[in-house]
């Protein structure tokens, strides 16, 4: 019997020591940073950036919708049950709203991913290295541009060296939280713009003119640079960048306006766009442009067109009729834009039409010989004629402002146009506190170096 006891004890220990190894369990649906060892892995992190750009907190919804709710008065009304959206429409948002919180955190997640790519370029073959580097810079640059637009005073407000921008983070987080580098203060608006220009200029120089799978090209970077320079009032540069895109021959206006939207893949006028499919999209229940903009039962139908918006078009304008009647999930009937009607479709981020309007306006404002050789009148009429509306005989700077509103409504352009031109937004001074999103309260709580925007 003694033997039996010893056998039992021995067995127990054998079992136990075998079990000890069983405590090492590796995750099955995730990878750890140590596993990123090849060029494909690094490219995977780069491509992950596109996914985060598609998120509802970025171009998938909020970069466009929130911008338009900030300048909603003559454009859209929010009839849904999410009070946070209604608050932004009413300029009544507060610092605990999930909208600025998610926009902020998603943006920095993208920035961290891109910083990680830039940190691991040595794993990329030399022949590809510059392309990958500049693609990551492009994504980082456009995200900083959106951040500084939403969370800081506009560039047009001046004093850019002193006005607070957003924290500039250019190094990747090292997986194990490092408090010594975590509490970054806000850089100045100027510093953020400088970084944006540096990133985008690199991308404009190094990215190839064409890419597979609708990845960013040098023209995507140039198109964004034209926006940046327009915001800064650097009209020569804005016109040059827009002209560069127009004259590349890579893009052409689609024949009718509606063809620019609800596409699978890029249309011929998309310079940069976010792809969506049934499997990969910005959301179908509580987030995504279509969720909010499309009438129930496809979407929630929470965002309707304000009737007065349709009055800014002449009767013959194709764009005037690009809407449909519908209702919201909350029972409100109204008019809905045709731009975000269907799920799983491409979200145009920069279209060629905008480049014509930018080149024309920039040429007009700077004066002198027009960049690209075509007159501002010609540029505005190019856009108008596509929508079968009458050509203008003369053109003013205000014509461009109005035309942008007609052409780019519901695409998140209005508020930036008004702000850069120091024009009132919904009756508020363009620098009004609530036209700038609050630094999310959770960030203020956790990072004492952050200063809240005035008015919150």
């Amino acid at each position: 019997m003694n033997k039996l006891i010893y056998i039992l004890i021995a067995t127990t220990f054998i079992v136990a020591s075998a079990c000890n190894k069983k405590l090492d369990v590796t995750p099955q649906q995730n990878i750890t940073p140590e596993q990123i060892k090849t060029a494909d892995d690094v490219k995977g992190v780069l491509f992950g950036g596109y996914k985060l750009l598609q998120n509802g907190s970025a171009f998938g919804e909020q970069y466009l919708l929130i911008a338009d709710l900030l300048a909603s008065e003559k454009q859209v009304k929010f009839v849904g049950t999410f009070t946070e959206y209604r608050d932004i429409e009413d300029k009544n948002q507060n610092q605990t709203s999930f909208i600025p919180r998610d926009m902020w955190s998603n943006a920095y997640a993208i920035i961290n991913s891109m910083n990680t790519v830039l940190d691991k370029l040595d794993l990329i073959d030399e022949s590809e290295r510059d392309d990958i580097k500049s693609e990551a810079e492009f994504i980082r640059g456009i995200v900083y541009f959106e951040l500084v637009n939403f969370f800081a005073k506009p560039y047009s407000a001046g004093d850019t060296e002193n006005n607070l921008g957003v924290p500039l983070v250019l190094d990747p987080q090292k997986y194990v939280y490092d408090p010594s580098t975590a509490f970054v203060a806000r850089a100045s608006v100027q510093d953020v713009y400088n970084q944006v220009i540096s990133d985008l200029s690199d991308a404009a120089t190094n990215l190839p003119p064409q890419q597979e799978d609708f990845r960013a090209t040098q023209f995507s970077a140039k198109a964004f640079l034209s926006r940046v320079y327009l915001n800064m009032g650097m009209y020569q540069d804005a016109a040059t960048m827009a002209n560069n895109v127009i004259q590349s021959g890579e893009f052409s206006l689609v024949s009718t306006y509606n063809q620019a939207f609800n596409n699978v893949g890029n249309s011929s006028e998309d310079i940069f766009a976010i792809q969506q499919t049934a499997q990969s999209n910005a959301g179908t229940g509580n987030s995504g442009l279509t969720t909010f903009y499309s009438a129930y039962p496809v979407g929630r139908g929470d965002v309707q067109i304000v009737n007065s918006y349709l009055n800014i078009f002449t009767a013959d304008d194709f764009r005037k009729n690009f809407w449909y009647q519908g209702g919201s999930i909350g029972g409100f009937t109204g008019k809905y834009t045709g731009k975000w009607k269907d799920f799983y479709k491409t979200v145009p981020v920069v279209r060629l039409a905008e480049m014509y309007l930018t080149r024309g306006e920039a040429n007009l404002r700077k004066g002198g010989a027009p960049v690209g050789g075509l007159t501002p009148l010609s540029d505005i009429n190019t856009v108008r004629q596509r929508s079968s509306t009458s050509a203008l005989a003369t053109v003013t700077a205000q014509n461009f402002v109005d035309e942008r509103f007609r052409e780019l409504g519901f695409e998140g352009d209005r508020v930036w146009t008004l702000k850069r031109l120091q024009m009132n937004v919904d009756g508020y001074e363009y620098t009004y506190d609530k036209l700038i999103l609050p630094i999310p309260q959770r960030e203020i709580d956790v990072n004492k170096n952050l200063v809240q925007n005035p008015g919150y």
Binding site: L8, I9, T12, F13, V15, A16, C19, N20, K22, L23, V25, P27, Q28, Q29, N30, I31, T32, P33, I36, G44, V45, F47, G48, G49, Y50, K51, L52, T81, T83, Y108, A109, N112, S113, N115, T116, P167, V169, P172, Q173, V176, Y177, A182, F183, D213, R215, Q275, Q276, T277, Q279, S280, T284, P297, I329, G330, G331, P440, R442, E443, D445, V446
Partner: protein, 1015 residues
């Protein structure tokens, strides 16, 4: 590990040589009425051999030596130890207070008297045949300090259970469940987009012999790293040796209806209120010169036109709302009336000299009070144990069952039946033009979803273990158990084209989940003879647990029609994923109980656990406990006392752990990003290689007493739980690219008192017993590094230092300004303000109660028995999170309103508690204020049961051994300030949210008729 060998050594030495056999015979009878007792275990002290008394109450046993001592034990009777004599006549006394009642503890058993820890025992009888979807809901009010929130009247939903308060913030605070020694899966395996479901519903309550709740550290620390939230041990029924086979049949049938619901407006009242809103908005506009109307009348008429045109005309579908042509009671449409449930349960138990068994089968169908929610289950159990030799016994406990839950969507979905109350009473159910269901309702008409959608979740569950017990010597035995808990779930949901959730295109999904747990426990029990006055009982062993959970889910859309109601009918897959998770625990444990003179009790235990949930830096944790007890009533000076018949003091301290944070949280991780054509990775989680167990140290002091010959008995415990190294999701600046990461940070306290009292008020032919338990718990978050962690629903709830977890935090509603009808809030300056932006956010109350308890009275007279059981909670608040739609005076939409809104402010000078209403200029509509926050205290008549046991003549006539017919009522009466059902919580998961009602289905009021027959 030398201690192992040492223990073995001692036991081997203590083996004594066998002497010649001596045969003793005798008979055992009941001391009270002299009936012969069948199946009494007769065992020679310190020997293996045991026999049981036969049908005549007689026994024959061979002794190992002359002068041996025999121990007689029988369930429900006090043990008797007598020197063996020829022709023994032994009388056993039924135990008055079950001090010798066997209580199951981790890896063993003990008698109540010997315990030094705090354990609540609930007998299986108390949970059997109760009309509840799972056994834990029947525990409510039965055990002091165990707080159970069923959440809603929906079936199969997860239940929130807290033993001595919430002891974690980011990790789970649910207890560990152990069935016959096997830790089982108790967390939802279901669709993550719906409410969590409850895997414990797979256990047949009628199979349960007893439930032991291990509350203090001394009781629970033997489960170490998983015990910080308490442990619930479930022991299933077993057969007994030489027991005549008893066949038991239980039949129940019950009918349920909702308990308390909100009162909503009828069509006339709704129209009146709409007109009031129009008048209110018109007057406000005119008074404040907003739109520049010429007269007040113009303004009112204009608003009237808006309301009537957009609401009344539009939604009445051409019916005459002025005459009240349509008066739909939408609330009525969401409930089943007299929802039927029934259960058939058949079991058999018995045994011969060597083998004992319990076998059962059951079939149960329950219809919820809410439409489209139904729960079926059926299954069987076999518990079998066989004595292969004198020394070796082996057996198996296994239960196999299948359940199917037909579900509705979560409370926050437009499609859920609970939200039908938002529809307006002038809306017809059927379109008068077409005769079809009305699809022009205020919100999408959930009746389409009710009619065309389905969501069926089928679970196959096998929980079982095999075990062998080997007795080397009477003082040393070894037990090995191997168990498995295999849960496979298959959930198919379909949303038709016409429905809200079908999105006009038709959708379906399929979720398949498989969770497999293996567990082995191997331990020695050693009870050496160490002297005349001392007893030592020790346990040493190891345990290994592994769980593999694999899940796959696919969501599709675009169906040709509604004919194929599953994923195969969809033509486009939108999401499809699989997950694979695994966790392991490896543990060693040692426990020793020492008693001196049967009155001084000491116990100590230590357990070490290693888990895959932590990195190699801190993989193992140590969890010790010590406890002591003093049986004062055994002291000579107390034996004179006529007052105290039983008195014990006990105290304990120990450390337990919590690791319930899910897998891989110590690792930095990337996930897969699925951008079209560009598959990639994105960072999802920061790592923390130093992550370790959350620790709870708990001190407990208790007194147990029986007075007046145990007519009154009771137990009082005070405890203090201190949780440190909280497994906390600590916020980091999002500029790092991450939001938070798990860190061991912070402390939290729970302090409380528990009292259990029972008394035999009258003990004659008419019997009246009373038992009362109540508990107080105070939780306080002490230190979370200054963070504020938020949860909750419309009113924010948070974990913040210096407050109990889950306090409601928002603007305090103070009533209505009689001059303007504006809502008043507590302002920053401490004075009432009508300016909401200037209102101060303050702590408004908490969702966890201070006091909880139960109060039971049982009466019996002749063949009748009556049981009346109340439960109560107090000190908590409930937020009607749906209030800002259903009671906001139309500001947030035109939802039908609760009847209290009729009393809204109308004219300057009106004293009302309901602010000015109106879609345009209503006041007090902000969801974050305390306007819809109520005192959540309640007392509820939880159950009344009246039973009749058939007399012997009837039994003989029917050839049965007993029969009992009973009728019971559940939730028959409730007293509360809350306008709906106070026993709701739409957020059963998590620690911060709670006490939130969002169109939540109330508890059921149920009448049950049942029959119990034993053959």
């Amino acid at each position: 590990m030398k201690i192992f060998l040492f223990l073995i050594g001692i036991s081997v030495m203590s083996l004594s040589a066998l002497a010649q056999n001596l045969t003793i015979t005798g008979m055992v009878t009941d001391a009270k009425d002299n009936t012969r007792l069948v199946g009494v275990t007769v065992k020679e002290k310190n020997q293996h051999k045991a026999v049981v008394t036969d049908k005549e109450g007689s026994f024959t046993i061979s002794l190992s030596s002359a002068g041996g001592v025999l121990i007689f034990s029988y369930i429900g009777y006090d043990d008797v130890e007598l020197p063996a004599t020829e022709n023994m006549k032994v009388q056993l006394t039924p135990n008055t207070k079950n001090l010798n009642e066997v209580v199951v503890v981790g890896y063993g058993q003990a008698t109540k008297k010997q315990l030094t820890g705090s354990i609540s025992k609930v007998s299986g009888k108390e949970v059997a045949n109760v009309p509840a979807p799972s056994f834990e809901s029947a525990l409510q009010g039965k055990a002091a300090g165990v707080v159970i929130e069923s959440g809603s009247g929906k079936l199969g939903q997860a239940i929130k259970i807290r033993i001595r308060g919430t002891s974690s913030i980011s990790a789970s605070s649910q207890p560990l469940y152990v069935v016959d020694g096997l830790p089982i899966v108790s967390t939802s395996q279901s669709d993550i987009f719906n409410d969590p479901t409850n895997p414990l519903a797979d256990i047949n309550p009628n199979d349960i012999e007893s439930i032991e709740v291990l509350k203090d550290a001394s009781a629970a620390a033997i489960y170490g790293a998983r015990a910080a939230n308490g442990v619930i041990l479930i022991t299933t029924k077993k057969g007994r040796n030489n027991e005549k086979t008893t066949i038991e049949l239980n039949l129940t049938n019950s009918w349920s209806n909702p308990t308390r619901t909100f009162d909503f407006l009828n069509a006339t009242q709704y129209v009146d209120l709409i007109e009031l809103a129009a008048a209110s908005d018109g007057k406000y506009d005119f008074k404040n010169d907003i739109s520049g109307y010429a007269t007040e009348e113009d303004a009112i008429n204009d608003y009237k036109a808006f309301y009537e045109g957009n609401i009344l005309d539009y939604y009445s579908l051409g019916t005459d709302w002025r005459k009240g042509e349509v008066n739909t009671n939408w609330k009525d449409l969401l409930y089943n009336h007299n929802a039927v449930a029934n259960q058939i349960d058949l079991s058999a138990s018995g045994g011969n000299e060597k083998t004992r068994f319990f076998a059962s089968g059951f079939y149960n169908v329950q219809n919820a009070i809410v439409i489209d929610n139904k729960f079926y289950r059926y299954g069987g159990r076999l518990n079998l144990e066989h004595n292969a030799t004198d020394k070796l016994s082996l057996g198996i406990n296994i239960a196999v069952d299948r359940s199917q839950l037909n579900r509705v969507t979560n409370d926050n979905a437009f499609s859920t039946p609970g939200q039908l109350v938002a529809q307006i009473p002038i809306s017809p159910v059927y379109d008068p033009q077409t005769g079809e269901l009305n699809n022009q309702t205020l919100y999408g008409n959930g009746l389409f979803d009710a009619q065309f959608n389905s969501d069926k979740q089928a679970t196959n569950r096998t929980v079982g273990n095999v075990f062998a017990n080997y007795e080397f010597t009477p003082s040393l035995s070894f037990r090995s158990e191997f168990g498995a808990d295999i849960l496979s779930l298959y959930q198919e949901a379909f949303q038709g084209k016409q429905t809200i959730d079908g999105g006009g295109i038709g959708k379906a999904n399929l979720i398949v989940s498989q969770s497999t747990s293996y567990n082995t426990n191997n331990y020695f029990t050693y009870t050496p003879a160490i002297g005349k006055n001392s007893k030592l009982n020790s346990v040493i062993g190891m345990s290994y647990l592994q769980n593999d959970t694999k899940q796959s889910a696919s969501y599709g859309e675009q169906t040709p029609s509604d004919l194929i109601k599953n994923l195969s009918g969809t033509t486009s897959i939108t999401t499809s994923y699989s997950t694979s998770d695994k966790y392991t625990f490896l543990s060693y444990f040692l426990r020793a109980n020492y008693s001196l003179l049967d009155k001084y009790l000491l116990a100590a235990s230590i357990r070490t656990d290693g888990s895959s949930r932590f990195g190699s830096n801190n993989r193992y944790g140590w969890f010790p406990s010590v406890s002591a007890g003093w049986l004062l009533s055994e002291e000579r000076f107390m034996q004179q006392s006529k007052f105290f018949s039983y008195l014990k003091l006990r105290a304990s301290w120990g450390l337990t752990g919590n690791a319930e944070i899910g897998e891989s949280n110590f690792l930095a991780l990337y996930g897969v990003a699925n951008y079209p054509e560009l598959p990639g990775f994105y960072p999802v989680q920061l790592g923390n290689p130093n992550l370790k167990w959350e620790k709870t140290s708990q001190a407990d002091a208790g007194i147990e007493f029986g007075i007046l010959n145990n007519r009154i008995s009771g137990e009082i415990d005070v405890y203090k739980k201190h949780t440190s190294d909280l497994l906390l999701q600590v916020n980091v600046p999002a500029t790092t690219g991450f939001l938070n990461y798990y860190q061991n940070l912070g402390t939290m306290d729970n302090k409380g008192v528990e009292v259990t009292l029972s008394s035999k008020n009258i003990d004659t032919k008419f019997k009246w017993n009373t038992s009362l338990n109540f508990a107080y718990n105070k939780n306080e978050v002490l230190d979370i590094n200054g963070q504020i962690i938020e949860g909750g629903f419309s009113v924010v709830q948070r974990a913040v230092e210096g407050e109990p977890i889950g306090v409601f935090y928002g603007e305090k509603f103070l009533g209505v300004d009689p001059e303007t009808g504006d809502a008043l809030f507590l302002g920053e300056d401490g004075k009432p303000t009508t300016d909401f932006d200037n209102a101060k956010r303050v702590v408004l109350g908490k969702s966890n109660p201070d006091w909880t308890g139960g109060f039971t009275n049982t009466f019996s007279y002749k063949n009748f028995d009556l049981n009346i059981f109340f439960t109560f909670v107090s000190g908590n608040k409930i937020n009607n999170a749906g209030g800002y739609f259903m009671s906001d005076g139309f500001y947030n939409g035109f939802d039908n309103q609760t009847t209290d809104i009729i009393n809204a402010w109308r004219e300057p000078g009106d004293k009302s508690n309901v602010p000015r209403i109106g879609y345009f200029y209503g006041s007090g509509y902000q969801p974050t204020s305390s306007r819809w926050l109520y005192n959540g205290s309640y007392i509820r008549l939880k159950n009344v049961t009246l039973g009749y046991t058939a007399p012997k003549t009837v039994n003989d006539f029917l050839h049965i051994s007993s029969a009992r017919l009973y009728v019971s009522g559940t939730n028959l009466w409730t007293k509360t300030d809350y306008p709906g059902d106070p026993e709701i919580n739409t957020e059963t998961a998590g620690n911060i949210g709670g006490g939130q009602d969002f169109y939540t289905i109330p508890q059921a009021r149920t009448i049950t008729i049942g029959l119990n027959i034993k053959f």
